[in-house]
């Protein structure tokens, strides 16, 4: 039985009287690719912020990487990686500078950093660009780099917030190759996306609606449960249900 790397019990988050997360219960297992889906306004971003230690719950138990989200927030942050469409790397620093900066934050020694940096650059086939400013790189490269830097410190879990938004279809798929590789290495991937085909690549998917989790299972089982051809249909059936 695989280890649980995220446990969420009765998570509630309120903003005034508005209940953004309404009693969430779920676990994420080590090495899983866990899709966290939901319509805009469903409460996904709120939940993700809580899991990343950026926001405190109103009530409920949350453990990330084995650490308690209320009392061990800094340990949580040290043991996770994060990447979103909106922020990834510093545009006005080079690849090498960004790696040095993030290595410093996560406490990676210069010796380790140099070795890992070589591997990273080789894997992405961008050794020649190491002194290029991030801002000068094509978006596809930025995305892949951002992901690689997000897992540079070998975190247990990496949170990806719509990482492939706006990117061309080939780069989008290459990005998922990277996600698979990370998962093979035992890194748990917690990803949100609006691309329903990407939902199919996840081991399990949860779908939020109006603050609650309305479905949580493998894509295969969800399609059976909702009598749907693909994840797009599953999503439509759930999201339209409350309108």
């Amino acid at each position: 039985m695989k280890e649980k790397v995220i446990t969420v019990k009765n998570l509630v988050k309120k903003f005034g009287s508005f209940v953004s997360n309404d009693n969430l219960n779920f676990d994420v297992y080590q090495g899983e690719i866990f899709g966290f889906l939901g319509a805009n306004g469903a409460g996904k971003t709120t939940a993700m912020k809580i899991l990343c230690g950026l926001s405190a719950p109103t009530s409920g138990e949350v453990k990330v990487g084995g650490f308690d989200i209320y009392t061990e927030t800094e340990k949580v942050k040290r043991n996770i990686g994060y990447m979103s469409q909106k922020f990834s790397l510093y545009e006005d620093m080079t690849i090498a500078e960004n790696i040095r900066f993030f290595s410093g934050i996560y406490g990676i020694s210069p010796k380790d950093r140099k070795a890992k940096q070589e591997v990273l650059l080789k894997n992405l086939d961008i050794e020649s660009a190491k002194d290029s400013l991030i801002g000068s790189l094509p978006l596809g490269w930025k995305q892949k780099l951002a992901f690689s830097v997000a897992i540079f410190h070998d975190p247990k879990i990496v949170f990806l917030d719509e990482p492939t938004g706006g990117v061309d279809p080939i780069t989008r798929r290459k990005f998922w190759d990277l996600i698979y590789e990370a998962s093979d290495r035992g890194i748990t991937v917690f990803v949100t996306t609006h691309y329903m085909d990407e939902a199919e690549y996840c081991n399990r998917v949860s779908i939020m609606n109006n603050g609650k989790i309305e479905a949580l299972d493998t894509p295969e089982n969800l399609k059976k449960q909702f009598g749907a051809k693909n994840m797009d249909e599953v999503f439509l059936k759930i999201a339209r249900n409350t309108e």
């Binding site: 939901g38 319509a39 805009n40 306004g41 469409q85 094509p138 978006l139 719509e162 938004g165 706006g166 990117v167 061309d168 279809p169 080939i170 780069t171 798929r173 998922w176 698979y180 093979d184 609006h194 329903m196 085909d197 990407e198 939902a199 199919e200 690549y201 894509p219 693909n230 994840m231 797009d232 999503f235 439509l236 999201a239 339209r240």
Partner: protein, 298 residues
Amino acid sequence: MISIQNISKSYGDVQAVRDISLEVKKGELFGLIGPDGAGKTTLMRILMTLLIQDEGKATMNGLDVIKDYKKIRKIVGYMPGRFSLYQDLTVEENLNFFATVFQTTVAENYDLIRDIYVQIEPFKNRLAGKLSGGMKQKLALSCSLIHKPEILVLDEPTTGVDAVSRKEFWDMLKKLQQKGITILVSTPYMDEAMLCNRVALMQKGNVLTIDTPQKLVENYSRKLYAIKAKDMHRLILDIRAYEKTDSAYAFGEFLHVTGKEDEVEATEFENYLIKKNHTDLLVMDHHPTIEDVFMEMM
């Protein structure tokens, strides 16, 4: 209705738009399809008279984007890429503001926006900044229509929006088209291309091709297979290692695969994969989608 002739625009060293020419007919729903960096936003800003081109000429309903910019601004509705309404005004206040700026009233052209606005009317006293993504879109669309424009220019209106709201939004566009409005819309979502009358596939400042989505799919020249098996991750690695494979990409629960020659048969893939111990194997002929077309052209 919209005429673009040899338009080029650079930002320093970056060539955002390279010698683009295209025409949009009156009443058409025309899509600019392509990823970030394709030049869609730059092109639209030039048409909206917000940016001046380096070279070339463009007209909106016969009006030149440089000489007649003031006249153009009266007849075009615009929804820029990021939510740009007033976050600290309510839904109703935003709508009234835009109506006033265009020297009309909400009542005057209300039937144009009614179908859209009724969905957000219950929230009319909510601050625009507190709306969900889908509702912001609907408000922005209403504000762009309030002066009954002849042309609507929408820059990635569905980016970052969930699948349900995206579908609803395109339903609204189709209805607006039926009311005679010419619509130019950009999107990185390939499936939305199918909903346009004609599309221009764009990448890195260039137009790759312009045609109806149906013709683009028809003209796709390769033989395409859809393949799946129990272990999808291993499947893609094995298929890519096969010497007869040209390309293999994930498309949801199937892989889309082309052979090095179109004569490579389904059975050849099947036999290879069975030898690799794949179970629950399915290999089928598959009709290409716009995404397959785009990826082939890239």
